[in-house]
Subunit: 452 residues, 2 copies
């Protein structure tokens, strides 16, 4: 019996592990023979070949695949409240006639309910970490804490709300950072360069530096936004981030589809602290033809992760789907089917995502010393069989419903289609009672106007 393993808190037996073939080589992944993962204090302490353990509790994975927990690198979780409520409309209509008017109606408890439902959906789908950007962050944090997911939370603000609102947002970030046993980290979260003044962006950078966190915002979301910025003020949104100190503070950029080649040169200077979240389903749904320059960002050493964006545009919070869409669209854009191979796609989903959300050392790989954030995926379904290539199965045929178990910080937070300890039916019932109020547009207002 191995000393280190004796008396582990928890062990996962008989799991085949998705790993990078060699340390540091992110783009060549493989699935091992069955192994045992020992976990202590929420951390992976040993991965070994023995089929037994002395751990106090154990989970037999039955030969299924253990992969690093999926990381949703950009989301507005509470918007499950508006799932399917703004369909087949332009981005302008989506913002100005639906979503931003809807959000006038939000009360704090709505945000709690919407976020909790999102967390349940994500945990059932193997997601162990979400980078969230939304209002009423204390309610978001409450749902995160209850559900057991790991999260980086950014309290959204617009400059139109005034300086007090901005400063309150900074205070909220400080208050939640490090809570939920360390599962919650914070970001400073101005909405975007087109809705926040340079002064507020600079204050955000300063607050992030002061708190030792990063900035999470939308920038260069579309090529149209970049062109608009160039026309109106002569600089790109990315240059604005440099000029206001955001890049220096470290940043999670939502989307970045409008990042230009010139911007890549700017970003290169800060590449170690820049991450970009790529959310392809939303881009296609909004008819965008220019997508995040993933290859260019990787070439300069910036991190790229996969995200869903909010469920009012993406409809579901499904990272299997978005990873697949990323690989498919990258092949198409480059007119080369050999591009974005399955290893690379899975590496972006896991290691890339961890770097993007500021957890590059803690998450994203299943190896000793990292947090035990694990998705156990069952490939036995008819739609995955036979399995000639596990990586191809994970990228191209596996569904979120194939997730057998999700583990965060060494705790089983979803198992066999259930999230223990959460009354999902009661939650949905309570939410439904609040929907008419949420969709009421009779007030004729919106929280902000989209005019980038």
């Amino acid at each position: 019996m191995n000393e280190q393993a004796a008396g582990s808190d928890f062990a996962i037996l008989n799991c085949r592990v998705l790993q990078a073939c060699t340390a540091g080589s992110a783009n060549t992944m493989t699935v091992t023979a069955p192994k045992t993962i020992e976990i202590n204090g929420g951390m992976i302490t040993e991965i070994h070949d023995r089929p037994t353990t002395t751990a106090r509790t154990e989970l037999d994975a039955g030969g299924r695949i253990a992969m690093p927990g999926l990381i949703n690198s950009h989301c507005h979780s509470a918007m499950t409240l508006f799932r399917g409520a703004a369909e087949d409309v332009t981005a302008e209509t989506w913002f100005n006639d639906y979503v931003w008017p809807f959000e006038v109606n939000l009360e704090p408890h709505d945000v709690y309910l919407g976020t909790l439902l999102a967390c349940i959906e994500m945990l059932l789908a193997g997601v162990t970490t979400v980078a969230d950007h939304y209002f009423y962050v204390d309610q978001v944090a409450k749902a995160v804490e209850q559900s057991g997911i790991r999260a980086n939370l950014g309290p959204t603000f617009f400059s139109s709300q005034g300086k007090a609102s901005r400063d309150h947002s900074f205070e909220l970030a400080e208050a939640i950072h490090g809570t939920a046993g360390g599962r919650i980290t914070a970001s400073i979260a101005p909405h975007a360069p087109y809705t926040c003044t340079d002064e507020d962006l600079a204050a955000s950078a300063e607050a992030a530096q002061r708190l030792g966190v990063r900035v999470h915002l939308h920038a260069a979301e579309t090529i149209d936004q970049t062109e608009s910025s160039l026309a109106s003020r002569g600089v790109s949104p990315i240059k604005v981030l440099e000029d206001t100190g955001i890049l220096d503070a470290g940043v999670l950029i939502g989307h970045g589809c409008g990042i230009l080649n010139d911007d890549l040169e700017v970003l290169q200077k800060f590449a170690g602290q820049v991450g970009v979240a790529h959310c392809p389903k939303t881009y296609l749904k909004h008819a965008m033809h220019v997508l995040t320059p993933i290859g260019g960002l990787q070439a300069i050493g910036a991190a790229v992760g996969v995200g869903t964006d909010g469920p009012a545009s993406c409809n579901s919070l499904d990272l299997f789907e978005n990873t697949r869409l990323m690989a498919l669209t990258q092949k198409q854009i480059k007119r080369d089917a050999t591009q974005m191979n399955t290893s690379e796609a899975l590496s972006i989903l896991t290691e890339g995502g961890a770097r993007v959300v500021g957890l590059g050392e803690q998450c994203g790989r299943l190896e000793v010393g990292r947090r035990a954030d694990i998705a156990i995926v069952d490939l036995s379904g008819a739609h995955n069989q036979p399995v000639h290539d596990e990586l191809a199965a994970l990228v191209y045929s596996a569904r979120s419903s194939d997730v057998y178990a999700t583990i965060v910080d060494g705790k089983v937070v979803a198992l066999d289609g259930q999230v223990p300890g959460v009354d999902v039916d009661g939650l949905i019932k309570e939410m439904k009672q609040r929907l008419p109020k949420l969709l009421d547009l009779s007030h004729g207002r919106r929280i902000q106007t989209y005019d980038p």
Copy 2:
């Protein structure tokens, strides 16, 4: 008690029905209040509002949505055998170095096993009809009959196999047409204009006319194929189909991404008997940037359906996924998020698919007089909730795993994740024993060379 309903064979109670709002209006779909569907002799005989039935057997749908069974308008089902075995390669490599060499190894029983697995996957995913194009069609038919799915089967041939092979293919089509209690219909199935001579295409058209069936083939699969045809022989693949009598006989065209505007004029003359299967996942995976001209085909009155293509390219046989990809890519291509709305996407999946596979009068809608081919979809999962818009849920958040029951010809062929009467584990076990032989490339041959 209604006379017509009394003593029905089978009734589905408490189902909300996906229907076109008005007869003939395909593009405005809606979901009704809970209804009862009465079924006799495999046909829908009444849809009523009473919550009770006198049917001999009944299924309580629990308020779930009953939609027309999904129609896979182009597939090579048996290629589940090669799922994931040719990844991240160009189309040329895919054909010449993997799939066509693999297919040298096929024995009839392999095709039976591969097709049966595909049928199970599809039935679990709400697919009630598949248009299949493959070798050893007697084995395909055996699997179809056993599984309970409805199918249009085309026995594939290449001209390189010789005239006897072609004529045998015609005989096989004749032999299977109308079998399995009418669930199997046949098509004449030359592979493609670039692998079959004009003489064989003309003979195919003639055989189809003689048997009263249609032709199912690949044509203008890519814009490159069309350009190659124009360069080498001065006419497009679609013009070849006209010149050889294929369009006049009636045809199911796989893909048609290389259909030109000039071709639409040709096709318009035969629009009532032309269907095109659109399989977007395969197109993106093969890095194709020009996709089926869906709008143009609809404008001339040709039918368009959704297909998966074979699982060696598509990896899964998932029509929820392919319908979603169709809607997303059409919005992107047209740079207009209002295009391909949810009604239209669902209409193409159901009515469009039925027309494409030659069952436009029998399937594709849930209404009296049509076959009782039904998918019952459960939207209660966290990833679909709350449901503001059922059509959006079906197109953008529902998964194949949300299918609760699949009914073909009034018979429940899949229920709650199980296909009654099929030993899936035994099937997969038997298949796995045969895989090393199937992937053996030591023979150095291929069934055909890809050089369109």
